[in-house]
Point group: C2
Chain length 295, copies 2
């Protein structure tokens, strides 16, 4: 039953999100190749976990999740731009993403960089154009997005990740990377829902802590998938972290230690959800999904 | 006398701008290499014509130009990010910019891409944090910046410019490129000043037309500098456009035709300034500067 609930919710709002993403790009008066490159990566699938977190947060506070469509599209655009730029030859140099050729393999490197730039830029426009909310809320969304994704957020994580490739990291350094590279945008997704729900200060704090622990759990599970995952499902060879001498939770804590740390982070995340005292069932189910995900 | 006026004004506000840029980056909690890369290109000099247009617009409407400091810094960050990305090997592949090694030559390609991303992202945060203005004005600034710099603005121009390298362009295609690649951000700079000055609809329209023609004049002068410029002043070899078989105003209209077109655009720009019926002396002097600039 519980799982059906998230399935139904997820199917409905993922579809609305896909429509919103497509329409947002379609309406742009821009060179076709640029729009094609933006469409290509936005529509390459993915778990859409950031939008789902936003919609589920709105649901918990009895708001219509549809008021978060613009913000969800903006967040997914920022996530997508980061993947396009991360895949570039000078960064991770990946030819495939989710089983499809990466953006620069299809459109060339220059167009891929510019499509990423355009998605990032457009995301702020969409945030600023969120319908039916006061100007203060729109501004808060713009600021949240900039802080989550910029030099103190996701970009910091990517820089630290690249610097870290050259050496063995300790746990604090590894956490810095993950909190910034993945965590900040997951937190930003939940807090965007919080802004649109006009939550109290206490609720804000609980949601922030919840998503912080969820983000760490997400990354630990990611590291474990590189060991026990199914290559077809995760879309890349198992064991590539070990091959690349990458510092991971299992490499620092052992497999059992990493699994224990995953459970600990999941418990902490759920504790903060309970403190909110709202109907957080969907957020709990997303948390279960993060704990057990196969890809 | 007139020229002294702009000199004094320009010296004062350029200094304030430099301070603002430096402080804005200094305060970031981010990896040092990222901050260094952001500082490097922001402080590489440049004419700062966009901030000057913003400050001069505020001055025309009897506003304290300092209220535009955040917005001016944001606009200069967007301009700077665009230069960093344009210089990349997969784009224009330039090793030098204003006589100094380009960002990716100093920090590597990945850091250059990320420094550009971080500058772009941060610019929206700075706009949203403009002090002492109502939330509506801050939102309008965010939207203006996104529209001027994104898929319908500067990025569209860069994509069209790259597509245009492969063929001979007609005048309409050449104008499309320049209006978007350079013009939109120049217009955005003037209109940011207009937002902060709460101008009337008629004034807004005149400022928009003024900056449109100024942008075209700016680009025609740029093309002419490639023919009659001083290599040391412009910082690149004269004649490189011809060498690269690039479509330019002189290549389409001849040197005299391009010079006539420059004068025409300058006249149109000044006509719209006069219609505003404010103390637009500084904006007129900037227009003279664009007409006669040697670099």
């Amino acid at each position: 039953m519980a799982s059906l609930h998230l399935d139904t919710f997820s199917t409905k709002y993922k579809q609305l999100l896909e429509d919103q993403l497509r329409k947002s790009i379609d309406r742009l008066e821009a060179p076709e190749v640029l729009k094609d490159a933006m469409h290509y990566s936005l529509e390459a699938g993915g778990k859409r976990i950031r939008p789902l977190l936003l919609f589920a947060t709105l649901h918990a506070f009895q708001k219509d999740p549809e008021i978060g469509l613009n913000a969800a599209a903006a967040i997914e655009m920022v996530h997508t731009y980061s993947l396009i730029h991360d895949d570039l030859p000078s960064m991770d140099n990946d030819d495939l993403r989710r089983g499809k050729p990466t953006n620069h393999k299809v459109f060339g490197e220059a167009n891929a960089i510019l499509a990423g730039d355009a998605l990032l830029t457009y995301s702020f426009q969409l945030m600023a154009e969120t319908p039916d909310v006061p100007a203060d809320a729109k501004l808060a969304l713009v600021q949240l997005l900039a802080q989550s994704s910029g030099a103190e957020g996701m970009v910091a994580g990517q820089v630290a990740d690249m610097l870290g490739e050259e050496k063995e990291l300790n746990l604090a350094e590894l956490e810095y990377i993950h909190i910034h590279k993945t965590g900040k945008m997951l937190t930003g997704s939940v807090l965007a829902g919080a802004i649109l729900s006009s939550v109290s200060e206490e609720e804000w704090e609980c949601l922030e802590r919840f998503s912080h622990h969820l983000g760490l759990a997400f990354q630990i599970r990611d590291d474990l998938l590189d060991i026990d995952g199914d290559e077809e499902l995760i879309g890349k060879p198992v064991g590539s972290d070990v091959g690349n001498h990458k510092t991971t939770y299992p490499s620092l804590l052992g497999i059992k230690g990493a699994q224990d740390e995953l459970w600990k982070q999941i418990e902490l995340a759920k504790d903060y959800l309970l403190k909110i005292n709202k109907d957080t069932q969907l957020l709990q189910e997303i948390t279960d999904l993060v704990e057990n995900r196969k890809y």
